[in-house]
């Protein structure tokens, strides 16, 4: 870093929506060659700020300066033309189109008469793909790629223009560790070229690994910028949420009960093979592995959403066949799915109705839904999970991510399951809510639930689990107790390295 002119500077940005002051005088300076973390809880204003920067929203007050020249941006395309590139968190790819077309989406190279210049497009794309060391080429259809590779396509978009600033919004959410390394190399490469990088993430270990400075937002206002080297996780967290967090490993143990769920030799086509494990009451079993290792698919099979091709499932020692979620629910299995908005919630429905949906058949007064009973269930779990909402009539689509997730968890807790499966319980959720949810999972186990936690975040698995099942490519590589697990042996296991080879 040097004292050159900043590539991008935001000055006292104010953005109000009817009744809300979403951004309240936010300033941010991005120097060339700097990786600048932007942190804050969900709802702190990060995405609003990014929308202002991208020209999707117009700020009420304040200025945006690119290379110290004030600019007004009215569209993402204009932002890109000025050298500001966004890498979005949610995959925004057109699956039917080729990799090349996706990378150059919105700015395909043209020949005369609006024709696409395919030759140029492919040459340029392949050059970028080479830098990213990926195993596909410009013509591959994006829909045929794995999620991780699709994320790489998204990242490749940053390399198409002579960027001055690149904004990464949770780029690692679905990347494997190997791909993360490539991504960090790409970021380092950009850095060397003097590109400024804004890096948004909830993952502390990444922030501390690659960023130079950290700016923090809270409740729409700017809380300050610190040099990464001069601070630690605790200090940053405190800046973000105004209190301390418990980030220790799980060491508390409670009495384990009987085996609630046992799986023997479960297979499902190519998705996973020969899966055997058991979960006791009072125990949290973590499933750790790369995206695509088959963890979610196991959960879906247990929940009756997929038919296993072989193997048996035993609940409380009884062999069971589960054909549908309805079956699973009636046998006491609950699943908090991975995709909150797509699978967990009906966004256009209110909080109460979402929460009581699985048991609406049982909450009856005569032929009608017993609305009073529903409200009391909602109230009970709102209090217990500390869900912040103006009332049960609020549409869940209007809640923040953390509160939405709590609604989903509340939905399944109110079913009083004997086996609770939570898939990526804190994806896209801020630090504060994250730790609340972790504590909740521990508490539930203490109350005698058998809990399975599927997660791609190592600190999370380490924090909540009594035992950890490491998966690689559809198989269980190894099962660790919380005493024997270390970060190293866990990473080896999920990378497909068996203990023998490692030794």
């Amino acid at each position: 870093m040097s004292d050159l002119t900043p590539v991008l500077r935001l000055e006292d940005i104010v953005k109000t929506f009817p009744g809300v002051r979403a951004l309240d005088g936010v300033s941010l300076t991005l120097m060339p060659g700097e990786v600048h973390a932007l942190m804050g809880e969900n709802g702190a204003g990060k995405s609003t700020l990014m929308k202002v920067l991208g020209g999707i929203l117009k700020p009420n007050e304040g200025r945006i300066l690119v290379a110290e020249t004030p600019v007004v941006m009215s569209s993402p395309l204009e932002a890109k033309a000025k050298g500001i590139v966004f890498i979005h968190q949610e995959l925004s790819l057109a699956e039917e189109l080729s990799v090349a077309e996706n990378i150059y989406l919105g700015e395909l190279p043209r020949k005369r008469f609006g024709l696409v210049d395919w030759a140029t497009l492919e040459t340029r794309t392949n050059a970028i793909l080479e830098k990213l060391k990926v195993g596909f080429d410009a013509r591959t259809r994006v829909g045929d790629l794995s999620i991780a590779n699709q994320q790489m396509v998204e990242i490749a978009r940053a390399l198409t223009v002579d960027a001055k600033a690149v904004i990464f919004d949770e780029p690692t959410a679905s990347l494997t560790d190997a791909e993360k390394v490539v991504l960090f190399d790409v970021i380092a490469g950009l850095q060397e070229q003097g590109v400024g990088i804004i890096y948004i993430s909830h993952r502390m270990e990444e922030i501390f690994r690659i960023t130079d400075r950290i700016s923090v937002l809270r409740d729409g206002s700017y809380r300050g910028t610190v040099n990464t080297a001069d601070t630690d996780e605790e200090a940053v967290t405190q800046l973000m949420i105004g209190r301390k967090l418990d980030l220790t490993r799980n060491e508390s143990h409670h009495e384990l009960g009987d085996v609630a769920l046992e799986v023997r030799g479960l297979c499902c086509g190519d998705l996973f093979r020969d899966i055997s494990f058991e979960v006791r009451r009072g125990e949290v079993v973590g499933f750790y592995g790369l995206v695509g290792a088959g963890r979610t698919e196991i959960a879906e099979t247990l929940f009756g959403l997929r038919d296993p091709s072989a193997g048996t499932i035993l609940l409380d020692g009884q062999e069971t066949v589960i054909h549908s979620p309805t079956d699973a629910i009636s046998r006491g299995i609950s699943l908090v799915p991975e995709d909150r908005k797509g699978q967990g919630l009906i966004l256009g429905m209110n909080c109460r109705d979402n929460m009581t949906l699985p048991q609406v058949d049982d909450l009856k007064a005569g032929p009608f839904v017993a609305e009073g009973a529903e409200v009391s269930i909602f109230d009970q779990y709102r209090d217990r999970l500390d869900i912040r909402t103006p009332g049960w009539k609020q549409l869940v689509g209007n809640l923040s991510g953390g509160n939405q997730q709590k609604i989903v968890i509340g939905k399944w807790l109110s079913m009083r399951p004997s086996v609770l499966i939570v898939d990526e319980p804190t994806r896209g959720i801020d630090v504060g809510s994250k730790s609340e949810i972790h504590n909740l999972i521990r508490e539930l186990a203490a109350q005698g639930y058998a809990v399975i936690v599927i997660s791609s975040e190592m600190p999370e698995v380490l924090h909540v689990s009594d035992r950890i099942v490491a998966m690689y490519s559809g198989r269980i590589m190894r099962t660790f107790t919380s005493e024997e697990v270390t970060e190293d042996n866990l990473i080896q296991a999920i990378s497909g390295i068996t203990p023998d080879k490692a030794a």
């Binding site: 569209s75 057109a94 699956e95 189109l97 919105g106 395909l108 043209r110 024709l115 696409v116 038919d307």
Partner: protein
Amino acid sequence: MQPGTLSTFLKRGAIWGFIVLELIFFSIAGEFLSVSDKAFINVDNMLLLFKQSAPIGIIAMGMTIIMVNGNIDLSVGATYAISAIVMLDAMTWSMFAGLGDGVIPVAWILALLTGVALGALNGLIVWKTGVDAFIVTLGSMLGYRGLVFMYNGEQPTSHLNWTLVDFAEAQWLGLHTATWFLLVVTAAVWFLMNKTVHGRNAYAIGNNRSAAVNAGIRVGPHMVINFMIIGFLAALSAVVFYSESGSVNPNDGELYELWVITAVVLGGTKLTGGAGSIISTFGGVLAIQLLRKGLSHIGADTETVNLVIGLILIAVLFLDRQLNTKGKEELKV
């Protein structure tokens, strides 16, 4: 060859397989059931097949664009009728009286402009109000039909110009005029959708609208352009057809939207947008016309025709889904 190529081929090729099946079936059934001595697969008959596919086929090309773009247009039948009226009526306007047969291109252009304008109106409403295209065009299907009747009451609008008829009935290199139009439109739309930035953006918008918006693609203008194209093609279809027939009933083109959508869906275009192929739509159009032709070749009566066409539509949809399932381990949602 990548894995899945065979199944992709099957999916893409399904419509052509269906066409071959139809040809075989009607040839054999025709031997027993047809009154005619002519074989079903006869060069003349196949040339006619192309010609008769033109009215629906030309519009279907536009519908493919609209559906790839993630919209739908139910008003094409009415647009078709209005354009036809404009074309036929314009030839009688006194201001063009001095032009002689020179009035023909003028009338054509007026008709095409009418189609473009009506399409643009639909597109602008969809863009500016944000109302779903299905609802907007369901409304204009009624509204445009109202305009048709306003033009000339319940009377047909007619103007028989034999120069025009001779042109429309001509055969060049063995193919009828209408066939040429259909082929040129197919080629042009294929080119548009596969080679131009506009076409690729249309795919991107239908595939993932928010991605397109994030990438700075202006969704609205692209949609308006596509609605103008389908309006143009509906008008072109009218121009081609009514140049030959010279008279339009105010209820002409009713139910065309349904036949057109059927052809497009048979060709494998997704109703959700983002995927679809012009060549397969061409196959879908041929498949429907072949079905009609075949059923009349073997002398099926009205009730059978209705029943068979309805059930085949469902059967093809079912087959298409079967080809697209991933097998037993698929997620059950």
